[in-house]
Amino acid sequence: MALLEVKNLEVCYGVIRALKGINFEVNQGEIVSLIGANGAGKTTTMQSIMGLIPIKSGTVTYDGQVINKIPGHKLVSLGMSQVPEGRRVFQELTVYENLVLGAYAQKDKKRIKDDIDEICTRFPRLGERKKQVAGTLSGGEQQMLAMGRAMMSHPKLLMLDEPSMGLSPLLVDQVFEIIKDYHKSGVTILLVEQNAKKALSISDRAYVLETGSITMEGKATDLLNDESVKKAYLGE
């Protein structure tokens, strides 16, 4: 069953049509990645799903419910969570406060505390830096914080927008390990990446986005072996 279904999604910035009616779906339990060059419309897709930018036409269905008329802040309690492009942790707040904000929909304080402990086990670096102001963390640590913060709401669908952006190869590997691991705990993943090789290597299926349109879709293994994908996105 499709957990997330996007139909004929069209988004415009003024006269620019950033998304020209795209269709894709993410099934329960999958890792699906959306790959494409800079400016293809990946972030626009992610933000419009979460209600951060208005949709011109089309529908977004989550868990059988059309959500594009629901105010964005209510989507979190439905089980959707997003790690935005560029991390966007709250720089002036501490690691701990960032994590608490990730659990905004949760009012049970004991539960929040337990969840923070769990996140700190998953990301030991965050545990060591609970009292540190997020703006002073390194890029990698901020990415961990952004992921940990998004996990605080116990999502059923976790969406990540270029989590490997600007990280060293070692950290990139770590980030993908964490995603794989989190997926194993039963969470469905929608991953946006420019690092197509890495993304495809952990995904079940993938879509290729080119200037606002989906030009290719298929099993990740098939796309990894596709000549045109290799040429355009894998640098081979």
Binding site: H73, V76, F90, L93, L101, Y104
Partner: protein, 287 residues
């Protein structure tokens, strides 16, 4: 000594008003130029309650409730539809709201200044100085309110949400924060603080007129900018600084006529040295 004390209590009044400017600026990203007029609304609420035979405590409650309702309605009717509009459009609207409130007050209460006697306070002498009790009350209550606000923002769920919205509205929404609701709460808090300021103001100058809010509004705005607009402790420090300087200037005969000029000169000087204000934060440019 008593000059410093009066300065501190005037400063507390400016700080309470400045907090409204700075919080709304930090969270809603707009300059609410009608904020000063909320003090006037509070003053007339107090006048009306006292004239109807109400107790001063009741007058304060009525002022707070009235100002909060005004703040919320103004935000909803005038500013919310402009979310995402150009800052200039919002600014012009705020100025329009300011004139609107003044005109309404003039229609209801007339243009003439009216006396409002909140209560009569004596003075106490500490050492050689005579300190007015109203100054002491203003200072203590003002400090308690500000401490409470600081704790609220840092330690409650809503307070943290306010900080989150002020830093990154989009990311805040991704946390499940209802940004519109947080903005509304911010206006409500700012207005409640302005209502408190209005009663303290009347304790110092027992008279109200439709343009009552203009001068303290501008002074408090100056204080917010001096402290670094968007910064809560900045507004407090800026307010107190301005209040003390004003009272000191007024106590020196040669300077007294130029008090306001001195205050704005200080604003310019501080902005020249530190354009973001004393405690202001540099806005990180978003990529």
């Amino acid at each position: 000594m008593s000059t410093i004390f009066d300065g501190l209590s005037l400063g507390a009044i400016y700080a309470l008003i400045a907090l409204g400017y700075t919080m709304v600026y930090g969270i809603a990203k707009m300059l609410n130029f009608a904020h000063g007029d909320i003090i006037m609304v509070g003053a007339y609420a107090i006048l009306t309650t006292l004239a109807a035979g109400g107790h001063i405590g009741l007058a304060l409650v009525v002022a707070v409730v009235t100002c909060v309702i005004f703040g919320i309605v103004i935000e909803k009717v005038a500013y919310k539809p402009l979310r995402g509009a150009s800052p200039l459009a919002v600014l012009i609207t705020a100025i329009g709201v300011s004139y609107f409130l003044q005109s309404i007050a003039q229609i209801i209460f007339g243009a003439k200044a009216q006396t409002v006697t909140v209560a009569t306070f004596g003075t106490v002498s500490i050492g050689t100085a005579e300190i007015s009790i109203s100054s002491i009350i203003t200072l203590i209550v003002g400090a308690v309110i500000m401490a409470g606000l600081t704790l609220f923002v840092k330690n409650t769920r809503t307070g943290r949400a306010m900080l989150a919205v002020s830093e990154d509205r989009g990311a805040a929404q991704l946390m499940g924060i209802n940004v519109n609701r947080i903005i509304m709460i911010t206006f409500a808090i700012g207005s409640a603080l302005a209502a408190c300021a209005s009663i303290f103001y009347l304790m110092q100058i027992p008279s109200t007129e439709p343009t009552l809010g203009s001068m303290p509004g501008i002074k408090a705005f100056t204080a917010a900018v001096i402290g670094g607009i968007g910064s809560i402790p900045g507004a407090m420090i800026g307010g107190v600084l301005l209040g003390v300087i004003e009272k000191i200037c007024l106590s020196i005969p040669v300077l007294a006529p130029y008090t306001t000029a001195v205050e704005f000169a200080m604003l310019i000087l501080i902005l020249l040295v530190r354009p973001i204000g004393l405690l202001g934060k540099k806005r990180r440019e978003k990529v």
